[in-house]
């Protein structure tokens, strides 16, 4: 009993039913697809809808009129009025969106111009820097040249000083030192002949 139960446990008792069901649904599906694709179906649904709308139209109109009158009495807005208000809100939204778009464009243009200006300023600053660098280099060269010239002049002056010193020394040897005023001895003539005692 138990073995039989265990052996049969795997089998789905509803399998047969499912297969029948699926086969039925498949068959019915094809029939129904053909049916809904037919002119008769289109005509039938069209007629049904038209009749419904025609039949209910007077009731809908009456209901609408009654509702409008009741709402007026209660000082409440009708559907038409609320709808009209909503349409105006939508128009306002569109205008706001247009303003938003214009602001975006203006901001975009400003940013572009700022970017261009920024780029120009960068170029100007770059040029100035290059010019200053060039001027700086020239000044350095001038300073170097001046240094060299000053050194040269300095050397010349030193040379002149040396030469001046050198020139003064022989002149001093050739030119005796100024004597002290001496007595002029007048020697007798015979003494003046050079005999010496």
């Amino acid at each position: 009993m138990t073995a039989e139960s265990n052996g049969n446990k795997g089998a789905d008792p509803f399998e047969g039913f499912k297969n029948m069901r699926d086969a039925y649904l498949e068959g019915m599906s094809k029939v129904m697809i053909d049916a809904v694709n037919s002119e008769e179906y289109a005509q039938a649904t069209g007629t049904l809808l038209t009749n419904y709308l025609t039949f209910t139209a007077p009731f809908r109109e009456a209901l609408d009129k009654t509702m409008v009158m009741a709402l007026e009495q209660l000082s409440l807005p009708s559907r038409q009025q609320v709808t009209s208000l909503a349409e105006r809100f939508t128009n306002l939204e569109m205008k706001l969106d247009d303003i938003d778009a214009k602001l975006d464009r203006m901001i975009g243009n400003l940013e572009m111009k700022l970017h261009d200006t920024d780029a120009k300023l960068d170029r100007i600053v770059g040029n100035l820097e290059m010019t200053l660098h060039g001027t700086d280099a020239k000044l350095d060269r001038i300073a170097d040249n001046l240094d060299m010239k000053l050194q040269g002049t300095d050397a010349k002056l030193d040379r002149i000083a040396e030469l001046s010193s050198a020139a003064r020394a022989p002149v001093a040897e050739a030119t005796p030192a100024p004597k002290q005023p001496t007595k002029v001895e007048t020697k007798p003539p015979h003494q003046a002949s050079g005999k010496k005692r």
Partner: protein, 355 residues
Amino acid sequence: MTQATDMSSDMLAMSEKLKIFNRLMTTKAAIAQTPKELVWTLNKAKLYRYIPVVPASERHPVPLLLVFALMNRPTILDLRPGHSFVEYMVGRGYDVYLLDWGIPGPEDKNLKFDDYTLDYMPRAIRKMKAISGSNEFSLLGWCIGAILTTIYASLRPDDGLRNLLLLTAPLDFSDKKSLTFAKWTDEKYFDVDKVLAAFGNMPGEMIDYGAKALKPVENYLGNYCKLWDSLDDPNVVEAWHSMNTWVTDIFPMAGGAYRQLIEDLYRNNRLVRGELQIRGEVVNLKRLRANLLNVIAQGDHITPPCQSEAILPKVGSTDQEIYRVRGGHIGIMAGSGAHKHTWPHIDSWLALRSH
């Protein structure tokens, strides 16, 4: 005794299944979880930017804007973590934006394709360009979003659109025999003016019924039977829950746009014929010069492949490609195989054209 034990365990299993089934039917899954920030709004429309995860230096410089249909949530593009196209593309280094059209109110019943393509889209794109710092962008349009992006790309080719990706694009309505919607909305049977006069906007319930009625047995019965059979598989359950959360999030479509969809496109095929006028300007597809990737779902019963194929010879794009992928209208992007086929192909195509 053993039989009783088996019966009680079977009953327990059945009870668990019913609990899970009840949870799936009565709760909403957490979808659209990829982090994003709101960067722009107009009326009900919102533009979201997804928070980048790749450093700016490694990101594609050309941003990508996703545009979905008008009558469904765009959260299908970000279904759940691990199965999200948005998450995938953000991880691949794209700067991703999403345009959520929002839910139209009674005041929006006169909104048309003209407003969406010449008011909302250019403003959203302007904001995207301002935030991304790029003058060029890529646009992905899916379903009705593909109609809107095609119109925009043709009317404003010089706004910086570099790449256009169309997914299951319903652009050509000439083969009416293949288009069930075309039969249902034929002027003999469907009075669009009467419907819009009664409701203002096209009710979401009617659009939802129309989409499900294309395959009524699958959508109203088979879907739930497959779920019941797979309740033991948590992956299938969570995938179903996410998809169902998106599918059931229905809302109306703006009346003016719906009227254009039926009269200008379904009935008269004006876009492909070159007769569609948007604010007095004829939509000339030859002016569409962006690089073009046209993704076609081979199993699509909502937008059959014939609706997307005719566009390529009509546009002015020199760089164009058709990518055919197995799957349905939604499945090619949100199904289990999307991350293996569609997403990598979109990434590889776009990566080459986003520098």
